[in-house]
């Protein structure tokens, strides 16, 4: 057979996949490796869908998504951030944020266009840019600066081929947020160089110190920003696969063109759930945010007591502690912890080279599990080589 697509062949398997294969086969694992909420989708949302299943035909929806949902999304965005979008021309309902980002990249990029993105970051950004024909250009951020990217580092990386900047605050895997001032500086740079801004704000509600800054609400940003959000994290609706993009009408029209030929529409069931979430889900959201915040404080405190340096994550539901003081690489640490103590964390380098020296721990799990994890991590740390213990080297087996 003739060879497959070169970009696909050249894209390595996700670093997370290898841990999944091992952890999935073990018993009594405490998993801090899960990038999704542990809460069940609020009952009122599920019940609304059951009612809809009994009473409607569940046909294709409008390509751009149900108008009721687009109106609710635009009203919600205006209510929270004061940014106005037209439900008819500036809003597209997608199969999760992942599809929305893919559509945006394919809409704005020509082959060879460069996209700047901040590392460490969600695993899909780098390959996604490549699949869309673009050239991913990573801007590393630093642990000792709380993984907040320096605007000047973005400016330095701009070339005549640069087309867009991809941002995600609060971020996965670091839980970092960016100050309004820094975000405004990045927007100003984008204006100066006429760049698109792709702003993935899927964790916007999970901000624990201060208010979330919505990028298109910043001066000069809206006309060049495509804002992504969805229901997975805020409403604990990962499996429903509903997200949305808000942006300039010409970009949304381009995205819609690809979406209608490749996807037709997001699932009608998911859209019904999303409408109910926006209309009546706020009380549940607030409960979940408070619970995450308590877990965050508890877990970060536990990591520090175990001897790991852990910058305070100000958003999302991840802690990203440094493991440099152990003398191990991220993969050695994660593998050792999994094999000897059955705690699954994700090595930081799975999120880009600048994640090396860290591991991602998701605290989207209940207190009982977090307590167990902290006890095991503590035991693991106490038995490290400085305490005359050899960590099993398992890299070869993976």
């Amino acid at each position: 057979m003739k060879p497959l697509n070169q970009t696909v062949l050249a894209t390595p398997q996700s670093g997370i996949r290898r841990f999944f294969d091992i952890a999935q086969q073990m018993e009594d694992v405490v998993s801090l490796g899960v990038g999704e909420p542990d809460f069940v989708t609020p009952w009122r949302i599920r019940e609304a869908v059951i009612y809809a299943l009994e009473n409607s035909r569940m046909t294709y929806t409008a390509n751009a998504g149900m108008i009721d949902l687009r109106q609710a999304v635009c009203a919600h965005t205006f209510g929270r951030y004061g940014v106005h979008y037209s439900p008819e021309t500036e809003c597209l309902i997608t199969v999760g944020v992942s599809e929305a980002i893919d559509l945006a990249l394919r809409t704005i990029l020509n082959p060879g266009d460069e996209v700047l993105y901040v590392e460490p970051c969600y695993v899909s950004y780098h390959p996604g840019i490549g699949f869309a024909g673009g050239v991913p250009v990573a801007i590393p951020s630093r642990g000792d600066e709380g993984f907040s990217v320096r605007p000047e580092d973005i400016r330095t990386a701009i070339t005549r081929k640069t087309k867009a900047i991809l941002l995600c605050y609060p971020g996965n895997p670091t839980g970092a947020t960016l100050s309004r001032e820094n975000l405004q500086q990045i927007v100003d740079i984008a204006v100066e160089h006429d760049l698109y801004i792709l702003s993935d704000e899927i964790y916007d509600r999970l901000v624990y110190n201060g208010e979330h800054v919505c990028v298109p609400s910043l001066r000069g940003a809206q006309e060049r920003t495509i804002l992504f959000n969805g229901f997975s994290k805020t409403y604990s609706m990962t499996g429903w696969r509903v997200g949305y993009a808000l942006g300039p009408a010409d970009v949304i029209a381009g995205m819609l063109k690809i979406h209608q030929y490749s996807m037709l529409s997001a699932s009608s069931i998911g859209q019904v759930a999303a409408i109910e979430a926006l209309r009546h889900g706020e009380a549940d959201v607030r409960e979940m945010i408070e619970e995450y915040n308590q877990r965050r404080r508890y877990f970060v405190n536990g990591l520090r007591e175990a001897g790991l340096e852990c910058p305070e994550p100000s958003g999302a539901f991840y802690a990203f502690p440094s493991i440099r003081n152990t003398g191990l690489t991220s993969e050695e640490f994660a593998e050792g912890l999994l094999m000897s103590e059955k705690v699954a964390v994700i090595p930081g380098n799975a999120f880009g080279p600048s994640g090396e020296g860290h591991v991602r721990c998701s605290y989207a799990t209940n207190f009982e599990q977090l307590e167990k994890a902290i006890t095991r991590i503590q035991r693991f740390m106490n038995r490290l080589p400085t305490h005359n213990l050899n960590i099993p080297t398992l890299t070869a087996k993976l």
């Binding site: 996700s14 997370i16 841990f19 999944f20 952890a23 999935q24 694992v29 998993s31 490796g33 899960v34 990038g35 999704e36 542990d38 069940v40 969600y122 695993v123 899909s124 996965n172 408070e290 308590q294 877990r295 404080r297 508890y298 405190n301 699954a344 994700i346 799990t365």
Partner: protein, 159 residues
């Protein structure tokens, strides 16, 4: 202190130092706050939710709708007091609707509860009618679901 109260409502045994970490307060703040809440009666007492049936004890619960004639000057309060002083009475509430008081009674058998209703409750002065409903199965109590256990169906590792 609402956050502290919510933690204690879920787990009365939560330690002040753990509550302090979870809520971003100092241990002293939490301890003093709890003491104040106990003193002024916001925290009434600490109790445990027990599934007696699972333990093996047979207990009979009856939900009794009681119609009463309110008294001049005291309304429903005096008759409510006469009812709630019985130790077998767990709850007494004044409710709207077709009846006046909703009373929950616990006994070791249907006969015991029936006797209580017939001999004590129904014969009280000002009680004009009772309507007794025996509990058949408990699904949820005080926010705790009794009939199902939650399992984590998520993938072990995901991006």
């Amino acid at each position: 202190m609402r956050d502290v109260l919510k933690i204690l409502e879920q787990n009365a045994r939560a330690l002040p130092e753990d509550i302090a970490i979870r809520t971003g307060r100092t241990t002293t703040e939490v301890e003093d706050g709890i003491l104040d809440l106990e003193k002024n009666g916001v925290i009434r007492r600490y109790k445990t939710v027990i599934d007696w049936e699972r333990y093996g004890d047979e207990k009979v619960y009856a939900y009794i709708d009681v119609s009463v004639t309110p008294q001049r000057g005291a309304g429903y309060d005096d008759i409510a007091k006469r009812i709630y002083r019985y130790p077998e009475v767990r709850d007494v509430c004044l409710v709207s609707g077709g009846h006046d008081l909703r009373v929950v009674v616990i006994g070791t058998g249907i006969k015991e509860v029936a006797n209580f209703v017939a001999e004590k409750l129904a014969t009280l002065e000002n009680v004009t009618a009772t309507n007794t409903h025996f509990l058949l199965k408990r699904y949820k109590e005080d926010g705790d679901v009794f009939v199902e256990t939650h399992t984590d169906a998520r993938l072990m590792v995901s991006p």
